[in-house]
Amino acid sequence: MHYIPTPMHIPDGFLNWVISILCWLITIAVVGIAISKTNKSLGERQIPLMGVMAAFIFAAQMINFPVAGGTSGHLLGGALAAIVLGPWAGMLVMTAVIAVQALLFQDGGLLVMGANILNMGLATAAVGYGLYRSAASSSKGVKLGVTGVAAWLSVMTGALLTTLQLWLSGTSQLAVVFPAMMGVHALIGLGEALITVFALGFILQARPDLLGEGSESAKAGSGWVWVGGLIALTVVLLSPLASADPDGLERVAINAGFIHYGQSAPFSIIPDYTIPFLGQTSISTITAGIVGVVIVGLVAFLIGRGVRARS
């Protein structure tokens, strides 16, 4: 089958039970709120809609485009789902997608499904929708530009959460995995941003009514701007900090006593000697991040101009 597994689905065994259950609790709480909110605001008509939309996200992940050297970009969909369906319905749709990926394809584990839903479904939807909402009343060009940044940051948020969970489970060393994961996802996020922007641009052109006044997407409260903005800001601030000084982050976790719950085998990052190429990697991550933001912004700007010129 043309099924592309993404490098963010954590399999069973890679998170310890404390982190797994903690993530499940957060996920259950947020999904519970999402269910009660959608039950209130949506009629029974919306249930088949959300089901088909979940199948849409699943199927849309198979649309890819060649980038370079045999690699290809494709969609994860958290931001797009939240933007077109509204944040709560988007979260439910992503939860269903991730559950089926784990159940049918073993892409992602069962005990760690709470973490996977949190990383790829809930966080991406919150960041994606929150930032999009901040530009909801702006012109189409600005809206699409912000959407691109939102999609890119949603992927980075997912990657950051995944890395932190793996590290707190004692499954990986922060100093190595953090720059690697963030670097790879800075690129994956670019593909996500491009497809999301162009898909949304097409929808706005073909069926503007679906996102206009009275749609689920426009009805959600402006509190989302704060939620999404705060998460995005944390990611933006934490990423360079953690890349440049992973030991610092580790110390914070040790001081907070959190790492004891997380790790059954106590180990810490090599304190006595530094590995030169790691330093380079973290610098390259920050650079990749900055270059990513600049490229996304530039592309968004150009698209915005192109769209305006046409209309």
Binding site: P11, L80, L111
Partner: protein
């Protein structure tokens, strides 16, 4: 595309196939949780867990190679765990030089790495077995009985029902792109990466509109057949003596595994 093109269900007449899907779902989760609870290097307990896996595999009549072959899906993720090899607590086993820097593999690091791989390998095989011996609609129904909210199980049921329809739609879109992407030898086809992304994005948007409009038709069709917000099934689940036996077997065995793992 056939409706079950994605299904991992393998039709057989076996004890495991006949078990109640609720029992199968619960014992699978119990087994995976048990693996996560075992401390590093609990070799005897890991061996016992493997025995339970092999026994369950035997009950399913799928052949020993079945889960083994498919269990490689989680392997690429091991790359991320490889860094625990260099944990600094413990005695150095092996020192190597990468780019003029010293990297030391320690015994605690190796112990942890191998334990993570074993946990993951055992867990993923049980999950593979679960979907191989349970029809997906039965599994969704079991989740509903296990108090997963109806709205979620309904979304999952719809996802499963219409996935192959929308995948057919994706194939049509991909075929359309292919047929319009002429290429001559020596001349690069298509435009820049951004242009290609624009095409892919347009396709995703198009797929969204088609799905959206289809969901409208689906809803109207359902209404015309008397849909009132609930899906019904003719497949009531009943616990039989075999189901109680399997549940009891797993509870006792997992308890034993946990005791042995902590000795």
């Amino acid at each position: 595309m056939h409706f079950d093109a994605f299904d991992r269900y393998h039709d057989r007449e076996s004890f495991a196939h006949r078990l109640d899907p609720r029992v199968k779902a619960v014992v699978t989760i119990m087994f995976i949780l048990s693996n996560a609870l075992l401390p590093d290097g609990a070799w005897l307990a890991f061996a016992m867990a493997w025995g339970v896996m092999l026994f369950s595999n035997h009950l399913s009549q799928l052949g020993l190679g079945y889960t083994l072959k498919r269990s490689i899906v989680a392997l690429p993720f091991a790359l991320i765990a490889i860094t625990v090899l260099f944990s600094n607590a413990g005695n150095p086993l092996w020192t190597m030089r990468i780019f003029s820097s010293q990297v030391v593999i320690t015994d605690t690091g190796l112990l942890r790495f191998v334990s993570i791989l074993i946990r993951s390998w055992l867990s993923v095989q049980m999950a593979i077995l679960l979907v191989a011996v349970t029809r997906f609609p039965d599994l969704i129904h079991a989740l509903e009985h296990l108090k997963v909210p109806a709205i979620l199980t309904t979304i999952i049921a719809f996802l499963y029902r219409y996935l192959f329809v929308l995948i057919d739609e994706v194939f049509r879109l991909l075929r359309a792109r292919e047929s319009r992407s002429g290429a001559a030898t020596g001349i690069a086809s298509g435009g820049s990466v951004v242009w290609r992304a624009k095409v892919a994005g347009g396709m995703a948007g198009q797929l969204f509109l088609r799905s959206y409009e289809r969901s409208d038709r689906i809803y109207n069709a359902m209404l015309s057949r008397g849909y009132a917000g609930r899906l019904y099934t003719l497949n009531p689940h009943e616990m039989k003596s075999g189901d109680y036996f399997v549940t009891a077997f797993f509870v006792v065995t997992i308890f034993l595994i946990q005791v042995v793992g902590r000795l």
